[in-house]
C-alpha cells in the first residue's frame, strides 16, 4: 500500500527522491565532522580507561578495586543520556563548564571505559596463568608481563565483544546532540523538521550508520584474522 501510494503519486515520489538527495550532503557532513571523530576519540580514550579499570578490578588493592567497581556499576547502571545531561548541564552548577564536544567525549569515554573494562577483565582472566608464570620465570615484572605477554593475547579474545561496543558507540553518539554537538542524527532531525518526512530521512540516516558500521565490521574481521595468525 505504501509503495503503491508512492508510485501511484508521481509528484510525491519526486518530492521524496528530491529530499533523499538533498539531505545526503548535510548528513554526511555531520558524520564526517562530528559523528566519526567523536566515535574514534571516545573509543580510544575509553579503551585506555577500560584497561586501567580492568587492572584495578583484578588488583590486590581493596580501595582501588572498590573505586573501579563503583565506577563500573554507576556507569552501566544509569542511562548515558542522564550522564551527558549531568556532565553538560549539571557540572556548571559546581563551577565546571565544559565545551560541547569535550563533554561528549568525556561522557562517551566514561561509558566505553565501564562496559569495555568488563570485557577486558574477562579476557585477561581467560589467559592461562602459565603465561604470567612463563613471563615471571624469565624475570619479567608485572608490568612487563602484562604489556608483552598478557594484553596482546587478551586482545585476540576481546576483539569481537569490543566491536559490539564500538558499533554501539557509533549510534550512541546521536545523543551528543543533547550537548549541542551537531552530529549526523541531529542533521537528520533538522532536515526532517523542515520537510516533515521523518520516516524517510531517519531511514536514510540509518543507512549511513549501516555503512559506517559495515566498515567497522570489516575492520573487525581483519583484526580477528591478524590476531588469529598464530593460533
Amino acid at each position: 500500500m505504501y509503495l503503491n501510494s508512492i508510485f501511484a503519486d508521481p509528484e510525491r515520489t519526486a518530492r521524496l527522491m528530491d529530499i533523499a538527495k538533498t539531505s545526503l550532503q548535510p548528513m554526511l557532513e555531520g558524520a564526517i565532522m562530528n559523528t566519526i571523530p567523536l566515535t574514534i576519540i571516545s573509543f580510544i580514550v575509553g579503551i585506555i580507561l577500560a584497561v586501567l579499570t580492568a587492572l584495578a578490578r583484578i588488583s590486590q588493592g581493596k580501595v582501588l578495586r572498590g573505586i573501579a567497581g563503583v565506577y563500573v556499576s554507576a556507569i552501566r547502571g544509569t542511562p548515558l543520556l542522564v550522564q551527558l545531561f549531568i556532565i553538560f548541564y549539571g557540572l556548571p552548577n559546581v563551577g565546571i563548564t565544559l565545551d560541547p564536544f569535550l563533554s561528549a567525549v568525556i561522557g562517551f569515554s566514561l561509558s566505553i571505559g565501564a562496559y569495555a573494562s568488563e570485557i577486558i577483565r574477562a579476557a585477561i582472566l581467560s589467559i592461562p596463568k602459565g603465561q604470567w608464570e612463563a613471563g615471571y620465570s624469565i624475570g619479567m615484572t608485572y608490568a612487563q608481563a602484562l604489556k608483552r605477554i598478557i594484553l596482546p593475547q587478551a586482545a585476540r579474545v576481546s576483539v569481537p565483544p569490543l566491536s559490539n561496543s564500538f558499533i554501539s558507540l557509533v549510534k550512541d553518539t546521536s545523543l551528543a546532540s543533547l550537548v549541542l554537538v551537531t552530529e549526523m542524527f541531529r542533521r537528520a532531525q533538522e532536515i526532517a523538521s523542515r520537510n516533515y518526512e521523518f520516516l524517510l530521512v531517519y531511514t536514510e540516516a540509518a543507512l549511513i550508520y549501516w555503512v559506517i558500521c559495515f566498515f567497522l565490521s570489516v575492520l573487525q574481521q581483519y583484526m580477528e584474522k591478524r590476531l588469529d595468525r598464530y593460533v
Binding site: E133, Y136, S137, I138, M140, R148, R156, Y230
Partner: protein, 244 residues
Amino acid sequence: MISIKGLHKQFDQLEVLKGIDLEVGKGKVVVVIGPSGSGKTTMLRCLNVLEIPTKGIISIEGNSLDFSKNVPKKSIAVFRRLTGMVFQNYNLFPHRTALENVMEGPVVVKGMEKSKAREKAAALLQKVGLGDKMDYFPSQLSGGQQQRVGIARALAMEPEVMLFDEPTSALDPELVGEVLRVMKDLAQEGMTMIVVTHEMRFAREAADEVIFMDGGVVVERNKPEEIFINPKEERTRKFLNMIQ
C-alpha cells in the same frame, strides 16, 4: 651451588612441603621422583619463586632469600633470574615466533639490543636443533619442538641452574627422545640441573643423584644405580614397582 634449608610451603590448610633440605653442587644433575601430589612441582616453583615459601632459606651461588622474613618484590625479581624454568606444558608465548620467544627475555628484561638478542637466540635455537624453525609460531611446532624452544628460552637468560618440571610427560613417546637428548647435552656441558621426571632412562644416563619425595619431604636420596636397584626405603620400593 644451590642450597635449600627447612623449606615449608602451605596452601590454606594444606601443608605441601614440610621441611625440605637439599644441596646441589655446581654442575650436578639431580632427578626428583615421587608420587603425584608429593610436592615436586611445588618445590621447583619455590626455587623459581613462582610460589612464595611459607618459611625456609634458598640460596643460589651466594645470593640467598630467607622467607621467614618479608621478602621485597625487587629481590624476588633479581633472584628469579638465577633459575631457568622449563614447564611441563611448555607455556610458550603463542603470539611470538620461536625466535621471538627466546629473544623476549634478553630484550625486555636485560635490555639487550635487538640485533644482539636475535643473534644469541638464533644460536640457542641452533643448539637445540631448531635452526630451521626459528620463524615458526608455537602452534606450528610439534610438542617436542615446542619444549626445546622452552629450553632455549630459559637458557637465554643465562641462569645458574635449570629447573625442569616433567618436561617430556606431555609428549608423544617418539618425541621424548629429542628433548632428552638436548637435556643430556646440557648436563654434559656442566649446567646445574634439577629435573622432575619419571623417565628412568634419563635418570640412569644423566643424573648424579636421584631424590625420592613423598608427602612433602625428601624420603631418600642416592646415586641412580643404587636407588633403582636397591632402594633403602620401603616407600621408594613400592613407588618404583608401580611405575615400572
